[in-house]
């Protein structure tokens, strides 16, 4: 096991401390809400990277697992009155199981077919969600979730803690021997098979983990919105996450997570541009993708570390 180096650990703990200090500086629920959303995006982008960044198998249906987690937690709460805390525990199990089931047939596909299969799977889930409106609430979604925490800042601390631990756990996984095998699979699957590596088992297990963390983020997001809406299953969300991961630098886990955090905040604070907001956002993305081959987070951090050393 290769552990974090000291600079990485110190800086990530400092970032955590900074985020933890926000509720002390402002009691503005709007700011905390944006940060909660941004942290959820960070979990989603990091979990996407776990499979897709390491193995290069791009998942274009990540929203399926986000939505599944959100709806699982929302349904347990609104239909059975089960506390949201349990929903947050159950959601990753539901999404993880779905990940394994969907990964089982689709991860054997070669070329672009995995991407297409996941895109289609999430489209089916989205349509089913609208068709089964008696259970899912249709367009309206499932609303009326009972809040878990007494105040926005309490919930913010919960999301921040879970988000930080999740991303750290995923990063450790990526640095472990299993992460190394996944990178090797991304490089040449046939050679891994020739070395007796059970390629399918690795990919499917990792997909399940990736989906589970997505579901966890979905449940946290639903717990903040107090609603699970069909938007969470949309392909638009999946593609947003893919873009965030690209901009952050695939295969580094923290890159996509940090990029997601920033991009979610940027989108919010670009509201000043009115209807030009998405145009500006798009331009920023174009410039980043054009100028950097491996995203901006990881190269920037390496450069900065080089300067500090």
């Amino acid at each position: 096991m290769r552990f974090f180096n000291r600079t990485d650990s110190v800086v990530s703990l400092a970032a955590l401390a900074l985020l933890a200090a926000v509720p002390l500086l402002t009691s503005d629920n709007y700011v905390l809400g944006i940060l909660i959303t941004a942290i959820c995006y960070a979990i989603w982008a990091g979990s996407w990277d776990l499979l897709s960044g390491l193995t290069g198998r791009e998942n274009f249906g990540h929203s399926l697992f986000i939505g599944a987690g959100a709806y699982a937690a929302a349904y347990l709460n609104t239909a059975y009155g089960i506390d949201l805390g349990w929903g947050i525990v159950v959601a990753p199990l539901v999404s993880g199981t779905l990940g394994a089931l969907i990964g089982l047939p689709t991860l054997r596909l070669q070329g672009p077919y995995f991407a297409l299969a996941t895109l289609v799977a999430s489209a089916i889930a989205h349509t089913l969600c609208l068709l089964l409106w008696r259970v899912t609430g249709g367009e309206e979604g499932l609303s009326g979730i009972l809040p878990m925490a007494g105040s926005q800042s309490d919930y913010y601390y919960l999301v921040l803690t879970i988000g930080f631990v999740s991303i750290a756990a995923m990063k450790l996984f990526a640095l472990s021997d299993a992460g190394l095998v996944l990178r090797a699979i991304g490089s040449d699957e046939a050679i891994c098979r020739a070395a007796a590596i059970d390629v399918d088992a690795y990919k499917i297990t990792t997909f399940a983990f990736s989906a589970a963390f997505a579901g966890l983020g979905g449940a946290l997001f639903a717990g903040y919105q107090l609603t699970a809406a069909p938007d969470l299953l949309s392909s638009g969300l999946s593609i947003t996450i893919v873009v965030m991961a690209y901009v952050g630098g695939m295969g580094t886990i923290y890159g996509p997570a940090v990029a997601a955090l920033f991009l979610a905040l940027i989108v919010e604070y670009l509201r000043g541009f009115g209807e030009y907001r998405l145009l500006v956002y798009g331009l920023i993305l174009l410039v980043v993708v054009r100028l950097t081959r491996h995203g901006f987070v990881d190269p920037f951090w390496r450069w900065l570390k080089g300067r500090l050393a």
């Binding site: 190394l180 095998v181 990178r183 090797a184 490089s187 040449d188 046939a190 050679i191 891994c192 098979r193 020739a194 070395a195 007796a196 590596i197 059970d198 390629v199």
Partner: protein, 237 residues
């Protein structure tokens, strides 16, 4: 008395309706360096693909230590003692040399891998020097050494090498062939497929010559060396 480790018995195989292997039989004995020679398109790589279960045979059978390989999955072959070093090297270019080798010994313990790594380093001292370097930055010949080393890390009884000399400088080619000879001398049976016949004729214990999906000649190197018409017709020498 030598034992047959690998037996290919009357194998017919092809892609769709195109027959590439037509009734091919050969046997590989314990600790032997066996070369299969032949021009492009003779069916050499297809034969290796059949042996390492990347492709099914239409008829005939392939036996490893007397056991049929029919229905055995490719990854299982390593456990049975057969490692394939494919054409074109196919390393993990972004990973260090050491890790490339370790992944070859994926099914073995760390201790076993450390011992085998020492043997690989003894065989290819360059790889010890370059252990921490990204494999993609090595020269073609050095990459081939990594590829062979990686296959050895699986601790094979049978090592299969597909055209290890392609695109490699002459000096390194000789080094690689000498290393292959040493591997066989240590008791690992080697089946090597090559277009560069000249270099191998001196080193191999036995040779097969393939032409259009058939074995057209078999024997010790002396037989081929002394047979001018065979050399001219099939090996372009």
């Amino acid at each position: 008395m030598s034992i047959d480790l690998l037996t290919v018995r009357n194998v017919v195989a092809g892609y769709g309706r195109i027959r590439v292997l037509d009734d091919v039989s050969l046997d590989l004995r314990q600790g032997e360096l066996l070369a299969v020679l032949g021009a492009n398109g003779a069916g050499k790589t297809t034969l290796l693909r059949c042996i390492s279960r990347m492709m099914d045979v239409a008829s005939g059978d392939i036996l490893l230590e007397g056991r049929s390989l029919k229905g055995v999955a490719a990854p299982e072959l390593v456990r049975l003692g057969l490692c394939h070093c494919p054409e074109g090297r196919r390393l993990f270019p972004d990973l260090p040399v050491r890790v490339n080798l370790e992944l070859g010994g994926f099914i073995h313990t760390a201790d076993a891998n450390a011992a085998m790594m020492a043997k690989v380093h003894a065989l290819f001292p360059k790889l010890a020097e370059r252990a921490g370097q990204r494999a993609g930055t090595l020269s073609g010949g050095e990459q081939q050494m990594v590829a062979i080393g990686r296959a050895l890390m699986g601790r094979p009884k049978v090592l299969i090498l597909d055209e290890p000399s392609v695109g490699i400088a002459h000096g390194l080619k000789v080094q690689i062939f000498e290393a292959v000879r040493k591997i066989a001398d240590e008791g690992i049976s080697v089946l090597i497929v090559e277009q560069d016949a000249e270099a191998l004729i001196e080193l191999a214990d036995r040779l097969y010559v393939m032409e259009q999906g058939r074995i057209v000649a078999e024997g010790p190197p002396r037989m081929i060396r002394d047979n001018g018409s065979l050399k001219a017709a099939y090996l372009g020498m």
